[in-house]
Amino acid sequence: MSLRERLASGGFAVTAEISPPRGAGTEPITATAALLRHWVDAVNVTDNQGSNVRLASWAGSLAVMAAGLEPVMQMTCRDRNRIALQSDLLGASALGIRNVLVMTGDHPKFGDHPEAKPVFDLDSVQLLWTLRHMRDQGALLSGRVLKPPPDCFLGAVENPFAPPAGFRADRLGKKVAAGAQFVQTQFVFDVQAFAHWMAQVRDLGLHERCYILAGVGAVRSRRGLDFMRDQVPGVQVPDDVYRRLQAVPADQTAAEGARLAAETVRQLSAIEGVAGVHLLVAGNEQAVPGILDEAGVGAGRTEPDRAEPDRAGPDRAGPDRDGPDRDGPDRALPDRAGHGR
């Protein structure tokens, strides 16, 4: 079942995130995709996340597909003008990449090439609008006809917590008006604040025009927690969450972080209008099965593979990552190709 079908069927969707490697190989993507394959509906492939150069998101998306998982190709406005963006959508669509997630992108200042020219020829609303125009009208911005037009399922992002608070739901409304069919949100640590934003979203009726996937992150270490709170633009970690993760011994931060993530998933799934969760766990993917298991989200799934854990597979998780062993995957990941897609 594709992400689109899962959402259309009213099922609770789960997506996760993969950062492509800094290098000309796809092995890390393949390994991560194999780990996540039976747990998530699709996986985002980031587009030079944090303005740091990585393998291209379209290439990473192809690697994800080759590993039997559905990709969500992220596309930022930072590095490409309207010519390149339209061209890349055609290329992605031609090669079978259906899900495209549009975002503004971090400023180059935050990455490994701060001296680079920030492009931002289009903004995220304009890019969504352009891509929808290409698909529905079968034409470029220039008016030239596309034969055949691209096929795509368009996603957007939104940060429910950043100022101006009164405009954040309206901003999602603009993205939906421009063409967004699903949205993935920034990390939700403050469930109450998120619920407040969702109430505004429901007032605008946006949850009926767009699938909303709430972002959930798993904190792995105290350093990671501090980084998240102080360094990542737009992320807000409330004091009680911060204190809770600081209160456990340092070697148990990851376990507590995963537990918190599972609780958050459970709370979010109870909010009206939330169609799924997006797990922001890049680099900590082996925590995903534990989080979903504890949250009880995987239980209702229909994939036959999920019910038959037959092989303990720490080897599938890659070499010695410092993930949460306690909550980690002690259930097996069947080594089987094809996933009914």
Partner: protein, 189 residues
Amino acid sequence: MRCADGLCADGLLTARPPIPAHPRLGARLAYWLQRALRPRFGVRWLSARIEASGLARPLFTGGERVTKESLFGCRMCGQCALPVTGYVCPMGCPKELRNGPCGGVGADGSCEVYPGLRCVWVEAYERAASQGRVADLSLLHRPIDHRRWGESSWLNYWQGRDEGLWTAAVGHAASEGPRTSHQRVLGGS
């Protein structure tokens, strides 16, 4: 009218990087001026004369530049969004976002790129809200035409060339498409 090599026909360089600017004109006065200077017959006629004159046009454009630069930190994109952004210039956003703030705005309303400055969209929201114009912020802004940098947006506005810069968020958005009327005008000329 066309710009080439970053140097406009009007002789104005457009190399200033986008930096958030706090408007020095009160929101109330700005909206009053908007009503007073709306494109009626008189200004339309006058602006056509100015535009046709090889002497008056660069002088007028230079005057606009000086005025709007000091009041709004204007960078002369030539396609002014101020009337629907609470008179806070969105081209001062380091990402030049014309459809609202990015997700990186600090909890205190600061710009993520210039933490000492306020996000232009936080200011835009506050100023629009203070004048009952929040609905303006939901308009969908089309991509701008980069050939128009350095032009007088006042003349463009009075001559009716700015009408396609944005559209209502609901209804026509899909059918009209994201291409600006600017582009259509230029494409056809």
